[in-house]
C-alpha cells in the first residue's frame, strides 16, 4: 500500500497528548504549583512535532504522481452499523496538507508567543492544555477522512473555542460570550449533522469516506445534492461566522489575544471554507448552492466591513475584519474558485494572526487597555510591533504585492470570470472599506499624540518571545502571496495546481485586459480607502460621535438585540411558562383528577365506616342474606 501512512495519526495525537499531560500535571499539582515554568515549553513540543510531520507529509505527497497524490491511514473501525461504516481514518491530500502546514506552523508560533503573553497568569497550565487540545482537534478536523471524523474535530474546536473564550471565568460576560459561541456553533452543527445524514442515505452505503463519496457523487439527485449543500453550508456559517450566525465571533474576543489570533482568525473559523472545498465534488454539481454560498459570503463581507469601520475596540475591529475576510473566502468557494478561496485562507492566516498578535502586544503594553481611543503615538515606543503590524495591515487591505492582494484579487477575478458581476462589484467596494478601517486602526493606535499619557509612559516593546513570532509572520504576510503568483505577473499559480487533484473547478479563459482592469479596480479601491483613513485619522483625531446611520452601524444594526428578543427571550419565556403554568395545571391535570375522584368516592363511603366491629358484622350478615336470597330465587 504505497498510499498508506501510519504516521498520520500522530499529527493530531501529539498536541492531544500534550493537552492530557499538561492537564494531568496541573490537576495533580494545582494545590502546590511546581511545574508552572515548564507548561509553556511542554505545550510547544506537540505543535512543533506536528509541524515536522506535516512537512514530511508535504514532501511525501510532492514526490508522488499527481493523480494518486494522497496518503491515508485507517487507524481502526470507529463504528459500523448496517451500511454505515466509519473508520477512524485520516487522509492527507494536497488540500489537507496545505491546511496542515499552515495550521501547525502558525499554531507553533502562537504557542511560543503565548509563553510571553500569558506569563504570570493564574491559569497558565489550563491555557496551554486548552490550546493544545484545540490544535489537536483542528488537526483531526483537517485530516479526517470522512465527514464524521471531520465532525469530531469540528465540535472539538468548538469546545476549545468555548473554553478559551470563557477563559477568564470569573467575569460573567466572558462566560456568556463563550456560551453564545458554543450555542451558535451548535446551530451550525445541526446543519452539518443533518447534511451528513442526508448524504449518507443518498450515497453513503458504499463507504462514507471522502474517496468513496467523491466516486459516488454522480448518483446524487440534484434536489438531494442541493439539500446537502445547503445544510452543510449552515454548518459552515456557524463555524465560520457568516450571516446569519456571525454574531458570536465579535463576542469571542473576550478570550486571551493569542486565542483570538489562532482560533478566531487563523484556523478554526476557516474550517467552514475548508469544508466547502472538501465537498467541492458536490458543490460543483449544484451551481445554485454555490451562488447562495457566494452571495451569503459577500454580503457578510459587506456587513462586517460596515461594522468594522465604527468599532472602538482594537480586537473588535480585527474580529469584524475576520468576518469580512471569511466572507471573501466563501465568495471564492461559492463561485467554484476553491483554490482561490483556500489560498485566501492560507494568506489570511498569516496576516490576520500577525495583526492579532500585534494587537496583543499593544494590549499587553497598555495594561489590557483595548479601546483605540485611549491609545495613540505608540509608533515610537513599539517600533517592531508597529512595522510588523503595518505589513499585516497592508496585506489585509490588499496593497499590491502583499500576500492579501494576490489571494483576494484571485477571488474577485474568478467571480468576474465566472460571470458573477454583482459579487465582484460588492467585493471591490468591500476592499476599499477594508483598507479604510484597517488603516483607521493603525493610524489611531500608532500615529498622532498619545491620548492617555500615563499609559503611554508605561508602554514598552514586547519581549523577544512575542516579537519573534511577529517578525516571522510578517515575513509570511509579505511573501506568502508569491506562492500562487498569477500568470499575469509571470507566476504559474503553484497553489492552484497543487490543489487541482482535490477540488473540482474549471478555469474560464478571460482576456488579459479584463484581468488587468479588474486588478486596477481593486487597487483604486485600496487607494481610496487608505487615503480617506489618512485624511480623517492620519494626524491624530478625537473620538468621533455617531448619529443617524453611523450610530446605527456603531450599534451593529442592533442585530444582537434582535436575536435576543426574537430567539433568546421567547425561549426562556416558554421555559418559564412550562414551569409555572403548563406543568402544574395542564400535564398534572389527569393525575390530580384521579386523586380527586378517589377522594370523593372515599368521602362517600366514609359514612359506613363507623369503627364498631359488630356493625361490620351486621353488614356482613345483611350482605350474605341478600346474596343467599338472590341465589335461592335464581335457582328456582
Amino acid at each position: 500500500m504505497e498510499n498508506s501512512a501510519t504516521y498520520l495519526m500522530y499529527i493530531p495525537l501529539f498536541p492531544l497528548l500534550g493537552a492530557v499531560i499538561i492537564g494531568l500535571m496541573h490537576v495533580f499539582t494545582c494545590k502546590r504549583p511546581i511545574f508552572e515554568k515548564f507548561y509553556g515549553i511542554i505545550a510547544c513540543i506537540g505543535p512543533i512535532l506536528s509541524f515536522v510531520l506535516a512537512l514530511r507529509v508535504f514532501f511525501n505527497l510532492k514526490g508522488m504522481p499527481e493523480e494518486g497524490r494522497y496518503l491515508i491511514q485507517k487507524a481502526f473501525t470507529w463504528f459500523q452499523v448496517g451500511d454505515l461504516d466509519v473508520a477512524m481514518g485520516f487522509l492527507a491530500d494536497p488540500l489537507s496538507s496545505l491546511m496542515l502546514l499552515f495550521v501547525t506552523f502558525i499554531g507553533s508560533l502562537i504557542h511560543i508567543y503565548s509563553i510571553g503573553y500569558m506569563g504570570g497568569e493564574k491559569n497558565y497550565a489550563k491555557f496551554f492544555a486548552y490550546l493544545n487540545l484545540f490544535l489537536g482537534s483542528m488537526l483531526v478536523l483537517v485530516l479526517g477522512d470522512s465527514p464524521v471524523v471531520m465532525f469530531v474535530g469540528w465540535e472539538g474546536v468548538g469546545l476549545c473555542s468555548y473554553l478559551l473564550i470563557s477563559f477568564y471565568t470569573t467575569e460573567t460576560e466572558n462566560v456568556i460570550a463563550g456560551n453564545k459561541a458554543f450555542i451558535v456553533n451548535r446551530i451550525g452543527d445541526l446543519g452539518f449533522v443533518l447534511g451528513m445524514s442526508f448524504l449518507f442515505w443518498a450515497i453513503g452505503a458504499h463507504g462514507f469516506d471522502y474517496m468513496a463519496l467523491k466516486a459516488n457523487a454522480h448518483h446524487l439527485a440534484p434536489g438531494v445534492a442541493l439539500t446537502v449543500c445547503l445544510l452543510l453550508f449552515v454548518g459552515a456559517t456557524g463555524k465560520s461566522a457568516q450571516i446569519p450566525l456571525y454574531v458570536w465571533l465579535p463576542d469571542a474576543m473576550a478570550g486571551p489575544t493569542p486565542v483570538s489570533a489562532l482560533i478566531h482568525a487563523a484556523t478554526m473559523v476557516t474550517a467552514g471554507v475548508y469544508m466547502v472545498a472538501r465537498f467541492s465534488f458536490i458543490y460543483a454539481h449544484v451551481p445554485v448552492a454555490g451562488s447562495i454560498v457566494a452571495w451569503v459570503g459577500i454580503l457578510t463581507a459587506l456587513l462586517a466591513a460596515i461594522f468594522g469601520m465604527f468599532q472602538d475596540d482594537i480586537k473588535k475591529v480585527l474580529a469584524y475584519s475576520t468576518v469580512s475576510q471569511l466572507g471573501y473566502m466563501f465568495a471564492g468557494v461559492g463561485v467554484a474558485a476553491y483554490s482561490a478561496g483556500i489560498f485566501h485562507v492560507f494568506t489570511h492566516a498569516f496576516f490576520k494572526a500577525l495583526l492579532f498578535l500585534g494587537a496583543g502586544a499593544v494590549i499587553y503594553a497598555m495594561h489590557h487597555q483595548q479601546n483605540i481611543w485611549k491609545m495613540g503615538g505608540l509608533k515610537k515606543k513599539m517600533p517592531i510591533t508597529y512595522y510588523t503590524m503595518v505589513i499585516g495591515a497592508l496585506a489585509l487591505a490588499g496593497c499590491p504585492f502583499f500576500s492579501g492582494f494576490f489571494s483576494k484579487d484571485e477571488i474577485l477575478f474568478m467571480a468576474l470570470a465566472n460571470g458573477h458581476w454583482g459579487i465582484w462589484l460588492v467585493g471591490v467596494a468591500v476592499a476599499g472599506m477594508t483598507a479604510y478601517y484597517t488603516f483607521r486602526m493603525i493610524f489611531v493606535v500608532f500615529h498622532g499624540e498619545p491620548r492617555d499619557q500615563h499609559a503611554y509612559d508605561h508602554a514598552h516593546e514586547a519581549p523577544l518571545v512575542m516579537t519573534l513570532p511577529l517578525i516571522i509572520l510578517a515575513v509570511g504576510a509579505l511573501f506568502a502571496g508569491y506562492l500562487n503568483l498569477p500568470a499575469i505577473f509571470g507566476g504559474d499559480q503553484e497553489v492552484t495546481h497543487w490543489l487541482a487533484p482535490v477540488v473540482v473547478e474549471h478555469h474560464p479563459h478571460v482576456s488579459k485586459f479584463v484581468e488587468l482592469l479588474a486588478m486596477c479596480a481593486s487597487i483604486v479601491a485600496f487607494i481610496i480607502g487608505i487615503r480617506l483613513a489618512w485624511q480623517r485619522f492620519g494626524k491624530g483625531a478625537e473620538e468621533p460621535t455617531f448619529s443617524g446611520f453611523t450610530e446605527f452601524a456603531y450599534h451593529k444594526f442592533y442585530v444582537d438585540e434582535l436575536y435576543d428578543s426574537v430567539f433568546v427571550q421567547p425561549y426562556k419565556r416558554i421555559g418559564g411558562a412550562i414551569r409555572n403554568a403548563i406543568e402544574p395545571n395542564v400535564t398534572d391535570a389527569p393525575i390530580k383528577l384521579v386523586s380527586q375522584l378517589y377522594m370523593m368516592v372515599g368521602q362517600a363511603f366514609k359514612v359506613f365506616q363507623v369503627g364498631f366491629v359488630r356493625v361490620y358484622a351486621i353488614y356482613m350478615i345483611v350482605g350474605l342474606s341478600v346474596m343467599s336470597l338472590i341465589l335461592s330465587f335464581s335457582l328456582n
Binding site: 365506616q609 369503627g611 358484622a617
Partner: protein, 98 residues
C-alpha cells in the same frame, strides 16, 4: 330427622350471631363466635350421618382444631387489648372509624 338437627344448628347459629352483634364485651363476642362454629359443626355431623360418609366428621374435627388455635390467638389479642386501653368494651376500639 335431619331437620331437627338443622333447626338446632340454625338456632345455635342465630344466638351466636345475635351475641356478636349485640354484646359489647369482647369475651362475650368471642364466646358467641365459638357458638357459631359449633352450630356449623353440628350441621356437619348431621349431614355426615345423613350421607353416611366420614367427610363431615373430618371437617368437624378440623373446625375444632382451628377453633382451639383461634382461641389461643384471640385470647392473646384480648390480653393485649386490655393492656392497651384497660377495658374490654368493643365500643372503645373504634380506630377504623372513617
Amino acid at each position: 330427622m335431619i331437620h331437627s338437627y338443622l333447626m338446632v344448628s340454625v338456632i345455635l347459629f342465630c344466638i351466636g350471631m345475635l351475641g356478636v352483634i349485640s354484646r359489647r364485651n369482647v369475651f362475650t363476642v368471642f364466646m358467641s363466635i365459638e357458638l357459631m362454629l359449633n352450630a356449623a359443626n353440628l350441621a356437619f355431623v348431621a349431614f355426615s350421618r345423613l350421607h353416611e360418609s366420614m367427610d363431615g366428621h373430618v371437617l368437624a374435627l378440623m373446625v375444632m382444631a382451628v377453633a382451639a388455635a383461634e382461641a389461643a390467638l384471640a385470647l392473646a389479642v384480648v390480653i393485649l387489648l386490655h393492656k392497651h386501653k384497660g377495658k374490654l368494651d368493643t365500643n372503645v376500639f373504634s380506630l377504623l372509624k372513617g
